[in-house]
Every structure is written in C-alpha cells, then in structure tokens.
Amino acid sequence: MDVVIIDTSCANLSSLKFGIERLGYKVSVTDNGEQIRAADKVFLPGVGAAGAAMEIIENKQIPQLVRELTQPVLGICLGMQLMTEFSAEGNVACLNLIPGQVNPIKADGLRLPHMGWNTLSEIKDCPIFEGIGKQDYFYFVHSLCVAPSEFTIATCEYGQTFSASLNKDNFYGVQFHPERSGKPGARVIQNFLEMKS
C-alpha cells in the first residue's frame, strides 16, 4: 500500500511517520503532487496556528491538490481543522472539504489549551472507530475546536461538546493525536489504513 504524509512543513511530521511505521507500513513524507495523487491513503498533519499553516500550504499549492483527491485522506489535529471552511485562528479561509468552522473552545473557566488524555463521548459507527469504545483515552492538544454537526463522527467534552472526529465523503479528520494516543490511537491509524477506499 502506498501511504503518504503531506509535507505541510509543520513540526511533528516525524512523530506521525513513526506512528505509521510502528504498524509495519512504509510511508513517505512529500509535497510532490504526483506522488500524493497516486497514494492509496493520505495524511494531512498539522500543529501550530491555522493562519501560518494555510499560508505554507498555499505556497506549496496544496489546497487545490487536496480538494481533488478521491482516496481516503485523514487530517490530524490542525490538519482536521484545516479541512473545514474557516478558522477563527487568524480569520482564515480553510480547505472547505467538510462544512464547519473552527472557533475557540468555550472552556467555561477550565484551563486552556485542552491538553491531555480525554475520552470520546459519542462514537458513530464508522470504520475508523472500529474496536474503539468510550473507555478509550486519546491525547488532545488544542485551544480551538469544531462544533458538532451532521459530519461529526465522534465527540469529546471539555467545557463544551466538540467534534473529536469529522467525516465527509473521502475526507476524515481527528482532533486528537492518534500517533501519541497509545494503543487506541494506533488502532485508529490502522483502521484508516485498512479501510477500503
């Protein structure tokens, strides 16, 4: 299987790469359009600020490329947020692959960022969550979130209910870091890789 991580020039690309490799898959990190289009599975990683990240990927002409992909694409953390229409972090237009907007978490006196291990409160029947239950903890690090919508396939609670995972067509996103979420996280990555296109 041909697995690709889109090189968004954000930090932490290698932790995702290692997470995939630990499952026994080969993976390349690239911003080469041809290679990305030819892949069976594509990861869109990201950490940092949405404004800066959009600028970087626009310079690499990644947005148009990603919009045209038909194979499964998994956005992680900021990568998931970039899949929506708009982020309040820097007031930037995002990739518009999944309806929704990114706004600050209404933490209601709780500490921000939402940092650490949290459980999922609702999990829809979706191949990427096969074998995952409400007792499983995932590692989250973020201050902004996407409100639940019809495209939400898992939710999490921290001050408010927000989308822990999104899906529309071939585009999937997770707000948590599966590559840093122990065995349940590895299972999500594996589910995505084994999912039929």
Binding site: N12, F18, G48, A52, M115, G116, W117, H142, S143, R180
Partner: protein, 258 residues
C-alpha cells in the same frame, strides 16, 4: 473527562538518565530509550526529558536520542534543556518531540516564549520554573542555571510574578519545580502549588517531592494541578505505576487506567 497526567521525568546527562538529590550528586539510572519505552508501557501519560547540563554550560547538545525516543514510544513527550532559539526548538520538534520546555533562556529573554508560541503554537511551549522558598523574605523566588551548582543563581523574579509573566508571553503549560522539595520524597509543595494554581490559567504541572502514592492524591485533590511529575519514585520502583493509577482512580481522581 480530561484525565490528570502522571509524568515520569528523566534527567539526561551525557546521553544517560541520571538522578540527583536537590539537583546535586547525580547517579546514573540507565539508558534513555529503554527507560522511555518501559515507562510508556507501564502507563505513563507523558514523559519529560531534561538535559540538565545544557543550559548551564552553553554547549550545543547532541539530541539524536530525541528521534530514537519518537520512533519507539506512542505517548507524548517533552524535551527541555539548552533550547535558546527558534531554530533549536524547530530541530527538536522535527525530531519528533511534542513539546519543548524552556527555563533559563526564558528568564534571559522572555520574548523567546512569544516567538516560540507564534512559530509553533501555544500547545508546544512549556515553561519550566525552578522555585525556592526563601525563609528570610517569606517569598518564593525563581532560580536559574540549576543544572550546575556553581552557576545556580537567584533571579529578580518572585515565582508568582514570573508565572503571570510567562502566561502573558504565551506559554502553553507551566512546570513548577519546587526546589525545597526536590528529590527528598516528602510530598509536593501543596501550599506553593495552590498559590501557583490561583494565578495559572494554562495547564500546571507539579514537580518535586513525590515519595508516596498519597502525595499524588494530595497534589491533585488539594492543589488541583493538571499533572504530577516525578522521577526517583519511578526510577527506584518505590511506586508502581499501576498501583498509583488504580489508587488515584479509587480516590475519584480522573486518571487514564494503565
């Protein structure tokens, strides 16, 4: 619900994990990667690696071990020590660390915190604070260069003012090392951590003093910290991770089970 974190801390000197008492007299505990793997498997929620020599002797430290850790473990980890510039941080994060922690360099140049925040996001900027209670003044005071006895010095900052300042500058998390308690296993400095909690709106990690399971219960229940960091109790197997976590769960502390 968001779980409280148990964070083993591995002090690194010359590529080995070491442990000192009150920041002194370091003894070698073992190799970095096998220890990191062991703690991850035992159920640690996060790991912190402090390169304790880096800040104090201004060497460029070989951080190749960061990549080796990132390859092996599937929980988040933070690297501290010797990170003075955006470029230093970029290298560490690209090697696979989830967060970087700065201490003395932040005191020398508080703007570094905002620069790191802007470039990499708030979530990966941790500020470590070494705080010592001065009995004469009755104040908690911030120290720097604590990795080297000869260079350790008091700064002009009181701990609470510095906590406020680093948050203004964009820190995403604060690790408060209570130096009076470090390595002596008499319990976390609950009084100081309560004061810190009152002025800290980002995640706060307690450090220094863990010696028994009750100390963890106390620090979560009384000081409301987000995580508790400890070294010697884990290195010397004084506390077993599974027993610690189960006891915390039994005491209604939200914890990710082993």
């Amino acid at each position: 619900m968001l779980a409280r974190r148990i964070i083993p801390c591995l002090d690194v000197r010359d590529g080995k994990v070491v442990k000192g008492v009150k920041f002194r007299n370091h003894e070698i505990i073992g190799d970095i990667v096998p220890l990191a793997e062991k703690y991850a498997e035992m159920g640690a929620d996060e790991l912190v690696f402090y390169d304790i020599t880096a800040s104090s002797d201004s060497r460029v430290v070989d951080k190749a071990w960061v990549t080796r850790i990132a390859e092996k473990i599937d929980i988040p980890f933070c690297v501290a020590g010797g990170i003075k510039t955006i470029e230093d941080a970029r290298i560490i994060l690209e090697m696979g660390a989830d967060k970087i922690s700065i201490n003395s360099p932040a005191l020398a140049n508080p703007k570094l915190i905002s620069e790191l925040n802007k470039r990499f996001g708030q979530q990966c900027v941790v500020v470590g604070i070494d705080s010592f209670f001065n009995k004469e003044t009755g104040q908690y005071e911030v120290y720097q260069f604590t990795g080297d006895e000869k260079r350790t010095q008091k700064t002009a900052w009181t701990t609470m003012d510095w906590i406020k300042k680093v948050q203004e500058m964009g820190a995403g998390e604060i690790v408060l090392n209570c130096m009076n308690q470090d390595g002596v296993r008499q319990g976390y400095d609950i009084e100081q951590l309560k004061l810190a909690r009152a002025v800290c709106t980002v995640p706060l990690i307690a450090s220094g003093g863990a010696g028994a399971i009750e100390h963890f219960i106390d620090v979560f229940q009384q000081a409301d910290v987000d995580g508790a960091l400890a070294a010697s109790v884990f290195h010397k197997a004084v506390i077993a991770m599974d027993e610690l976590k189960q006891t915390l769960i039994n005491n209604n502390v939200e914890i990710r089970p082993c």
